[in-house]
Symmetry: C2
Subunit: 226 residues, 2 copies
């Protein structure tokens, strides 16, 4: 059975990505990160999603990106609220975490080498990417190329490692339809950057606004919204 490492944040994109990998028949190794994010609900969501979708294994790697500072998700800067689509598009958001996908994919690469997985799935999206440079196809291709030189696999000429991005060209509405068709329960996912202590989404941050727009355009109710 072919193995795949699936990056899993607990949000709807990565849940959909894991479901796609499962539907294709991969034995999946779901990987989440405890990176000092100021809310922990996303890790609980990742655990629920991994169990629900039948991941073969789920690991949470502890890393501390706060050591460098630089983002509202890991620092004490306030999360922006009520921004319009054009404000979100105007540049790289302050919620940007430096080199985050590079770091996450590097850990996926390490696990891939240990379990001899030949595929890494990551739910990046170039449509709603909100200015994150490490969500672009050119970045993913460059990472894949580097990865094939970084490991024993590359040296010993074994099978090539592939980085798969099944969501990269999809709108949020299309991702929601894909996820539903592949068996995702979006009620188990978590998207908010600034949830209440009980886990309730704020409904006002960029991530909540993009999620609401996606469900509206998909013509589907968000099970997280009463």
């Amino acid at each position: 059975m072919a193995r795949a490492i699936c990056l899993l944040s607990g949000g709807l994109d990565s849940a959909t990505c894991l479901a796609v990998a499962r539907r294709e028949g991969f034995e999946t190794y779901a990987l989440s990160f405890d990176y000092g994010q100021r809310h922990r609900q996303e890790l609980a969501a990742a655990e629920r999603v991994a169990a629900h979708l039948g991941a073969h294994a789920h690991r949470v790697a502890r890393i501390d990106l706060r050591v460098f500072g630089g983002s509202a998700l890991t620092d004490e800067i306030e999360v922006p609220k009520h921004r319009s689509a054009s404000e979100m598009d105007a540049g790289i958001p302050i919620t940007y975490v430096p080199a985050r996908n590079t770091i996450f994919l590097s850990f996926a690469l390490a696990w891939a080498e240990v379990v001899e997985a030949e595929t890494i799935f990551i739910g990046v999206n170039a449509v709603d990417y909100s200015g994150y440079p490490d969500c672009r196809p050119a970045f993913i291709q460059a990472f894949e190329q580097m990865a094939n030189l970084a490991t024993k696999t590359g040296v010993e000429g074994r099978t090539k490692l592939a980085v798969r991005t099944p969501l990269i060209e999809l709108t949020k509405a299309e991702i929601i339809h894909l996820g539903l068709s592949a068996g995702v329960d979006f009620g188990l996912t978590h998207s908010c950057y600034d949830p209440a202590p009980n886990g309730k989404p704020c409904g006002q941050c960029d991530s909540c606004l993009l999620r609401a727009k996606g469900f509206a355009e998909a013509g589907v109710a968000d099970p997280l919204v009463p």
Copy 2:
């Protein structure tokens, strides 16, 4: 003043690399990792070396590579001892940590973005690299290419990020001479994979054997060996 991130393990290669960056006039940001290694003396050495060489800042990023297993440096496998040069050359050593340099460089990239450093120094070496795939020039070039697509710098067309490897073509003896000329005190460094609780090197692991060979060929006494 140009800024550089310098990966610093506390060994003689990375100490030399930091000294070279300092001699070239960079304001240096030394970066070490607490990655669950079973001996902690190398972090103490990194701290001594950073202070001695006048690094502007020194951070230790906590990551846990043990979550994936796969190496004698982070697992309970025994470190090999008394191996000959041909045994060391015969393949990738069990002390190999999967994707280690990829992960370390990814963190360096994050810090580079935060402090707007345009250079990353890493003390990899392709001569004595003992089969580590992520010490080869082709890997470094691919990482650099990927890094320039991963960050705000790449998106906004600012200065290109460079990954510098001043030791890559040097023998261990040449590294020792370079380090001495650049002001490294090798008595502050640490190389052993399996030191005694008091920090004394075992003298028998691959790293101790390569270090001893290097000092012998350089015609210099190792200050760590009484």
